[in-house]
């Protein structure tokens, strides 16, 4: 397998872009990534998207986005893996470079949710569950998180309010991120009073769905010209693992086996232990998933992630900083694009371009995106090339 490098990144701020279409959102991120890459051109596009066929009545997305961005004629693929679609698209693009199929590949994650108003968005997202046996019972993604959280609180004797440490941390980290949806710190009192969505999941436990697009360009070593201006970041590990789709079909619904296995496989590929990274961008689509991701990756004993977070272990100056630019909760959750935003944010850290939230001497990052309660888990290890 050949080495794979990130040679360009581009994003639009996550938020409600009423005036911007699906295709233009994607184009802004794609062109920004290509602009950084000093003339490198992709031979293939990998699109991560979940909802366009339902909410925008637009399928055949790869052809549309290639056409609209002026990349006429290149190969195009759409990758759908629920909320992990963007991360799965990156994994596919990684394989395309590593295998020698192409020299440069562009990945774009894009989601347009504001063209649709009302409970239809929740129903469309619930289609990522088992439609016959979960969605049909009136269970949404937040309902799934509620089932997981209730059992977690019961099994480990954790207080419901304890999980408020995660949204509080995310909001604090987003204050200095110009591309974040919410750049305002929140207080624990506000968390305690928030209205219930899927009890015990409250409004602050759930990352807000929003429009967004993020792109990264991947290139082989051979494609990169001498004297390339951007600091180089290498993808040294890439793994995609699936679990039983329906929560009720798992032996232990709190195990998050796919999350654990994808960390193990990505780190093995990179030749490192998980503890040898400087930051962890994880999937906090719901507070409880942040806790379970930390536990599955081995950064907290089972049932104790919130307690360690309370002690500051996962803050910017902690032992293992997480979601350094605000994560899903405060940067916003652009669903099929979310996995690409995470990778882009890790690249900013590794290049030393993360501004006020820069992690000193960041050399390696672990990045993980989950679909729902880890029915698909995609994990990447990124490394700064010195």
């Amino acid at each position: 397998m050949r080495d794979v490098f990130i040679t360009g990144i581009g994003q639009v701020p996550v938020g409600e872009h009423w005036e911007v279409s699906l295709r233009s959102l994607a184009a802004r991120a794609m062109l920004a990534a290509l602009h950084q890459a000093e003339g490198l051109r992709p031979q293939a596009l990998f699109v991560g998207n979940l909802l366009a066929p339902v909410l925008s009545h637009q399928a055949n997305l790869a052809a549309l986005l290639i056409d609209n961005a002026g990349l006429d004629g290149i190969e195009g693929h759409l990758v759908e893996a629920g909320e992990a679609s963007g991360a799965a698209a990156l994994h596919s693009a990684f394989l395309a470079i590593a295998s020698g199929w192409v020299e440069s590949a562009l990945v774009v994650g894009v989601e347009k949710v504001t063209d649709y108003i009302g409970s239809g968005v929740e129903l469309a997202l619930a289609e990522t569950e088992d439609a016959d046996y979960e969605t049909a019972q009136g269970l949404t993604l937040s309902g799934l998180a509620g089932l997981v959280m209730q059992r977690y609180l019961h099994e480990y004797g954790v207080e419901r309010q304890a999980l408020g440490v995660f949204p509080t941390l995310m909001h604090a980290n987003a204050v200095h991120n110009p591309n974040a949806m919410f750049r305002k710190a929140i207080r624990r009192e506000a968390y305690a009073k928030a209205e219930m969505i899927s009890d015990p999941v409250n409004l602050f436990d759930m990352a807000p769905y929003a429009d967004g697009a993020a792109a990264v360009l991947l290139s082989s070593r051979a494609a990169i010209p001498a004297g390339f201006a951007q600091p180089l970041v290498r993808i040294s590990g890439s793994a995609l693992v699936t679990d039983r789709l329906a929560l009720h079909d798992r032996a232990d619904p709190l195990a998050f086996d796919a999350a654990r296995l994808s960390v193990e496989r990505a780190c093995r590929m990179a030749g490192i232990l998980p503890g040898e990274v400087n930051l962890f961008e994880l999937s906090d689509t719901f507070s409880i998933y942040a806790a379970l991701s930390l536990e599955a990756a081995g950064f907290a004993p089972t049932g104790r992630a919130a307690q360690l977070a309370e002690q500051g272990e996962f803050a910017l100056n902690g032992r293992m900083p997480i979601n350094t630019l605000g994560g899903m909760k405060a940067r916003g959750n652009p669903i099929g694009a979310a996995g690409v935003y995470q990778v882009l944010e890790a690249v900013l850290q590794l290049r030393g371009q993360a501004g006020a939230n820069q992690i000193a001497h960041a050399q390696r990052a672990l990045v993980q995106m989950l679909a729902g309660p880890a029915s698909t888990a995609v994990t990447h290890v990124l490394e700064r090339v010195s």
């Binding site: 016959d132 969605t135 009136g138 949404t140 309902g143 509620g146 219930m196 969505i197 929560l247």
Partner: protein
């Protein structure tokens, strides 16, 4: 909800019919094409008793389209006495509410209403607290 799809699932929705694996005797619900216990082909129907206990639950305040009429409603993971777990709404709850470990039994109720256009009403399984002395 499409009519052929609901018709195809009527055995499961009305009678909790799953499968028993002819190779390892494992009980399976919902039905699958391959036994999750032994990897053999699964195809022998098996009717579950409809009795179980609550493994976890959530109270839905934000319903998706088609489920608004019962808000707030409770969805649970029910551990059936034969082994498998099933996702289902709870019904007939009194002021005592729900606890993990509570015994429940299957009943048939309206699950979903598709609005005025075609007026399809979808019925299927829900679970209610076990009535004392019922077993």
């Amino acid at each position: 909800m499409e009519v052929p799809r609901h018709w195809r699932l009527k055995q499961q929705r009305y009678a909790l019919v799953g499968e028993v694996c002819p190779h390892c005797e494992g009980k399976i619900f919902p039905p699958r094409d391959v036994c999750p216990h032994c990897g053999g082909e699964a195809k022998t129907p098996y009717t579950f008793s409809g009795k179980g206990t609550v493994y976890s639950y959530t109270i839905m305040h934000d319903a998706p389209a088609g489920y608004d009429e019962n808000v707030p409603y409770t969805v649970a993971l029910v551990k059936l006495e034969e082994g498998p777990m099933v996702t289902a709404q709870l019904t007939d709850l009194d002021e005592q509410g729900v606890q993990i470990g509570m015994p429940v039994e299957m009943v048939t109720r309206r699950i979903r209403q598709d609005g005025d256009e075609r007026g399809l009403l979808v019925y299927g399984y829900k679970f209610r607290p076990m009535i004392a002395g019922a077993r």
